[in-house]
Amino acid sequence: MSELKNVKIPQVDLSKYNFEQGEVPELADLRQLDVDDRAELLMAGVDVEEEERSGTFLQIDHSNVHCSSRGQGVEVLSIKKALEKYNGLPEYYWQAMDKDKDEFTRAAAEKLHGGYFIRTAKGAKIEEPVQSCLFIKGQNVAQSVHNIVVVEEDSEVHIITGCATSHKVSSALHLGISEFYIKKGGKLTFTMVHNWGEEVSVRPRTVGIVEERGVFVSNYILLKPVKSVQSFPTIFLNGPGAVARFNSILVAPRGSYINSGNKIVLNAPETRGEIISRAITTGGTIIAPGVIEGNAVPARGHLECKGLILNDGVIHAIPELKGTKSGVELSHEAAVGKIAQEEIEYLMARGLDEDEATSTIVRGFLNVDIMGLPRELKESIDQTIAENEKEMF
C-alpha cells in the first residue's frame, strides 16, 4: 500500500468560491497594470516590459486580458480562441488528463475561465521564453484555467509561468489543468514560479506525454506563503529515448501546506527520468512525494529529495520506485534534517558569524543554477530569497 494514499490533504470547499464574475477589460500592454500588481508579477518571474520574451499571456481572474506573440514559430492563444479556431482541439483537449480524475478536474471541466494554448512550429527553436501569467485580483475568486502546450517535432521552447495574487486578496482558489504534448525530438522547459497568498488554495492538475527523443524539463519554485498547494504533475515517456526531469524548490513558512510531488512513467526503452527536490520548512508542512515507474528496458530513473527543517515544521519525503521489467534501473536518495554543524563551523572559521553562515548555506541549498534560467529571472529569484530571508529564517 502506497504511503501516498495515507496523506491527508486539506479539504477545499468549492462552494465557498465565486466561479462567476464580470469580465476584466483587455490590456494592450502589461505596463498598464498598477504598480502593486506589477510588483506581485515581478516576484512571480513575469517580465512586464516583455523584453526578451517571444510571447506573453496574461489571465486575470476569469478573463484573458493580454495575449501576444512576437516571435516566429510560436503561437500563443487563449484557450477559448484556440478551441474555436481548431474545432475544439480534439487531439489535445482533455486527452492526456482524465476529466473525472477528482472534484477539481470536474469543476474545471464544468466552468472554463481561460488558460493558454501554446504551440511551436515544427523544427522551430524559440530562443526567448514565452511567458504566461495567471493572476488573481478578486476576493474569493475561483480561477479555473486549462492550459495546453504542444511542442511540435524537433522544436524547442521555454515557457515561464508566473502565478500570483494581488496583495489585496485574502482568499482565493486556483484550479489549473495543464496538458503537455511533446512530439518527436521536441523539447519543453517549463518554469513555474508561484507567488500566491496566505489564504490562497491551489490545485493544479498536470499531465504530459513525451514522444520519441522528446525532452521535458520542469522547474518549480515556491518561496512565498500559500494556504495550501496540492499538485502531482505526471509525465509519461512513451517514445524511445525520451527524457524528463523535475526540479523543485519549496519553502514553507508557518501556515503553509505544500503537497508537491512528481511522477515519471518510463514506458519506452532508453528513457530516463529524474526528480530532484529541495524543501525547507520554517514552520509549515511539506509533503514531497516522488514516483518513478519503469515499464520498459533499458530505462533509468533517479529521485533525490532533500529537506531542511530550520525551526520547526514537517517535511515528509515519500520516494517511491516501481519497476515492472527486469533490467530497469531506479534509485533514490532522500534526506530530511537540519543544517550540518560542520558546515556552519567551516564558514565560521572563515569569519562568518552564525547567522551569516546559516544564510549562506540556505542560499546554496536553494540554488537554482541547475535550472538554467534566464539571467533576469534568476536574479529576481535570488532577490526574493534575500528579501524574504528575514521572515523565512
Binding site: 550540518a340 554543524q341 560542520e342 558546515e343 563551523e345 567551516y346 564558514l347 565560521m348 572559521a349 572563515r350 569569519g351 562568518l352 558569524d353 552564525e354 553562515a357 549562506t360 548555506i361 542560499r363 546554496g364 541549498f365 536553494l366 540554488n367 543554477d369
Partner: protein, 255 residues
C-alpha cells in the same frame, strides 16, 4: 602571537589534551609531530574554538587577548586561519563566492579572486561548489586559496601533505611558504628585508611525513604524545629521529 597555558581539553567526555603549554612567536613557524590519536588535531580545533572541544582547564591567548571562550568567527576575524584536512561540501556555494567571503571587509574584486586562484592553479574550480568532489590535492589548493584571501596572522595547517601527489606538493609547499613568509620575489617598492620585517605571519603545522619541511622555513618543532607535548627541537632533527626510531623515545620520556 599565540600563547597556550596548561590547556586541558575533553572530547566526548574523555580528556584528550592533558596540560599543553605552547608559545609561538610573531613570524615563527612551529611544527607539531606525533602519532595518530595523540591530540594534534584536537589542539588545532580547540584553538579555532569548535563545538565538541571542551576546555576544562588553562587558557589560550592570541595577540595578548584571552580567546578561550570566544566564538570561532571572532577568532577568525582576529586573524586565525585554518586549513582543514577534510572540509565539508557545501552544495550551491561556489568556491569563488567563498573566497570572496574570506576576504571579509577588504572587499576583493572578481579579478583579484581569479588572480589568487591562478597562483594555486585553481581558476577552473572557481565555479564549482566548494569541496564537491575535490581530490586531496584540490582540497589543499582550495584551502590555501581561501587562506590567501583571508590573510590570517596565524595559520593552522593540518597535514598539508595528506592525499597530495608530489607535483601538487611542490605547489602547496610554495604557497604555504608564501603565506608564512610573504612574497618571495623582490618588489620595486620595498627591499626584501623590509618585506620580511613587515610580514609577521606565524604558523602551526601538523605533519606526519615531514614533506612540508622541504618548503617552509620551520623554526621549531615538538612532539605531541598522549595529549602532552614533549621533545622540543629543530624540526629536521625530530623528523630524522622519528623516522628511524618511531615514538619509542616519547614513551620512555613521558613515563
Amino acid at each position: 602571537m599565540l600563547k597556550i597555558e596548561d590547556l586541558h581539553v575533553h572530547v566526548g567526555g574523555k580528556e584528550v589534551l592533558k596540560g599543553i603549554d605552547l608559545h609561538i612567536e610573531e613570524g615563527e613557524t612551529f611544527i607539531l609531530f606525533g602519532p595518530n590519536g595523540s591530540g594534534k588535531t584536537t589542539l588545532l580545533m580547540t584553538i579555532m574554538g569548535f563545538a565538541g572541544y571542551e576546555v576544562t582547564g588553562g587558557r589560550i591567548l592570541f595577540k595578548g587577548k584571552d580567546i578561550t571562550n570566544l566564538p570561532t568567527y571572532e577568532r577568525a576575524r582576529m586573524g586565525i586561519g585554518m586549513s582543514f584536512q577534510r572540509p565539508p561540501t557545501i552544495h550551491g556555494l561556489k568556491t569563488r563566492d567563498l573566497v570572496q567571503m574570506c576576504a571579509r571587509g577588504r572587499q576583493i574584486t572578481e579579478a583579484e579572486v581569479e588572480e589568487l586562484a591562478r597562483k594555486v592553479n585553481f581558476e577552473n574550480f572557481l565555479d564549482r561548489d566548494i569541496n564537491d568532489g575535490f581530490s586531496g590535492g584540490e582540497i589543499k589548493r582550495s584551502e590555501l586559496l581561501q587562506l590567501m584571501a583571508q590573510e590570517p596572522d596565524l595559520v593552522l595547517f593540518d597535514e598539508p601533505e595528506s592525499g597530495v601527489d608530489l607535483e601538487n606538493m611542490a605547489l602547496i609547499g610554495k604557497i604555504a611558504r608564501a603565506l608564512l613568509d610573504g612574497p618571495l620575489e623582490p618588489s620595486p617598492v620595498a627591499c626584501m628585508k623590509e618585506l620580511k620585517a613587515r610580514k609577521k605571519t606565524s604558523g602551526l603545522i601538523i605533519t606526519h611525513t615531514g614533506y612540508i619541511l622541504d618548503y617552509v622555513n620551520a623554526d621549531r618543532g615538538q612532539v605531541m604524545f598522549h595529549g602532552r607535548l614533549c621533545c622540543q627541537g629543530r624540526p629536521r632533527d625530530i623528523l630524522d629521529h622519528i623516522s628511524k626510531y618511531g615514538y619509542k623515545e616519547c614513551v620512555r620520556c613521558l613515563s
